[in-house]
Assembly symmetry: C2
């Protein structure tokens, strides 16, 4: 197969490694990726993952069209960039399989997952859109360390093609037709990671360990995530598999959402936490951007009587801390 | 209420703190606890949790009878000691509520949870036996840090008494009638913790991080635990709540089972790992003792056609490493 990866960030670049085992892989970079593309072209390691990429061909921003007659096209940019890239390429897309890897929500008239936002513009592509979720730290994928993720799609036929062409010994693929459950669970994981990380901040400020509290908050987070997933039409099994728990465990100690949550737990307000991370050169905090969308999704589902927003105590707490200046530790105390 | 705690180990002693908020608490120590009892009687901190206990009265090994006319009696010894203590006290027990906190299996003709083993001898006590499961690191409980656990019992009436008398602001109690699911899930959590901790050992030997693999193994562990729980007549919800996930998260980084698993992941064989821990003064490894029982329980459930033992790949792997000299890293590789 010919596989094109659009976006030369950490995950797009990392996936060239497993994808190249059985396929001819092209890596195209956006205008934000040019410095990275130059290094890669010289044969250097990818600066964000410290590993060499494995693409047969590297394409620069103005060479996008050359990437579009592949059998499989992966949109490897962040949630904010996905629909922009999709609109650039959609007139070239008919029979190709399109993969999305961003973990977030899109706001149109209502809050949508990325596949739903694409279906909304191109219903004919429904069975061709594939989402990747589950625990996959980019650097570990590129280092060929054991990884097992979920590829979801409404079409079994598409999933067969994906599994046959992209699975390797170290990069295992589980397939699921619950693309809504996987995508909602995955986007919410980033949001709830913020609250879980508050505890690390509280611990470091108080010089105590609070493992019991971590156990509680993770359990609460998974319960609330599965309620929202089910209300949105997904399956709870997706949350309690690789996508929800697995990914939460993989990113438990860190990640950008975790760094942000930890600062809030230490007592920073949202602005100072974001400023500190910006000064450190930390990029977009996906969980922060998506928290307000998650809250609006829950409001929509409440209006449709599919869940009660007031039951989602942790999501309400996250909303209070991120958008109403409340203190993380006080919010945690109020949960008891 | 009058509450007696039998066993002055870490958890028994820690529970004097929340229990004393509304009750008159007696702490009785076994012959293994005499050194601890002497310190406590002098007003010193409990040596294993570093916090003072809160009991109104401390009783020595030969004063057991004085502890037995309480409304609630907690058996706070390890799995190996539970039935011994129960048989010592059972002739004094009729209307009292009995709480068990050990997380393990008992082998009679078949593999039983602790409540089942007690019911087997005293069917009349069925609705009086209560199990405690969920994330509760003893030191954190004694320090009044937020903790939320599950008390399970077949009787709603007993659970009401428990919740009303033992819950405090910092020690929250969720109740469940799924005592089998809670007990099986909780005992299996210790067993599977060993395999999860192999990864830390492999990481430290190879000098890499393998967070994706941790995500996979935790997901697999929870799936297998819930299969066994359901086959044994419990509910999967108990595994995916405080008892399973919550407790797994709380003990994720350490605990004795984790230390043992980590050594196996580093390449130690079972004997040398156990010897090293013994030299360090680490006590009973509950997960090791219970792994063979968990395997036999799965064999029983397979014979009864309630699950397929061969589907429990991780449990088979744990059994191979602990009892058939197989190497943890090779077992992990074979899962892929």
């Amino acid at each position: 197969m010919r596989v094109s990866i659009l976006g030369a960030g950490a995950m797009g670049a990392a996936l060239t490694v497993p994808y190249s085992e059985k396929n001819d892989v092209i890596l195209w970079g956006t205008e934000y990726d040019t410095a990275i593309l130059e290094k890669i072209t010289k044969g250097e390691e990818h600066p964000r993952i410290g590993v060499k990429v494995a693409a047969r061909e590297i394409l620069y921003p103005d060479e996008l069209e050359k990437a579009l007659d592949s059998d499989i096209i992966l949109i490897g940019v962040s949630t904010e960039g996905v629909m922009g890239v999709f609109r650039k390429i959609e007139k070239y897309v008919d029979s190709q399989i399109l993969i999305t890897i961003a973990k977030g929500f899109i706001e149109k008239d209502e809050v949508l997952t990325i596949p739903e936002a694409i279906w909304d513009e191109r219903e004919d592509l429904r069975g061709k859109i594939v989402a990747v979720t589950g625990p996959s730290i980019a650097r570990e994928v590129a280092m060929r360390l054991p990884t097992h993720v979920t590829y979801s799609c409404t079409s079994h036929e598409t999933l067969d093609v994906i599994k046959n062409s992209l699975e390797t010994h170290f990069y295992r693929i589980e397939t699921s037709t619950d693309i809504i459950g996987c995508e909602v669970g995955s986007a919410l994981k980033n949001v709830y990671s913020i609250a879980i990380s508050w505890i690390r901040g509280i611990e470091s400020r108080k010089h105590v360990t609070m493992n019991n509290l971590k156990g509680i908050i993770v359990s609460m987070a998974l319960r609330e995530i599965s309620r929202i997933v089910v209300a949105k039409g997904g399956k709870w099994e997706s949350v309690y598999g690789f996508t929800g728990i697995g990914d939460l465990i993989a990113t438990f100690r860190g990640g950008r959402n975790g760094m942000f949550g930890e600062l809030l737990g230490k007592g920073y307000d949202v602005k100072s936490a974001l400023r500190e991370l910006e000064e450190k050169g930390v990029g977009v905090i996906e969980g922060y951007v998506n928290a307000s969308r998650a809250y609006r999704l829950a409001e929509e589902l409440d209006r449709e009587k599919k869940l009660k927003l007031e039951d989602l105590k942790l999501l309400n707490g996250i909303n209070d801390v991120l958008y109403h200046d409340e203190n993380a530790e006080e919010v945690i105390d109020a949960l008891f």
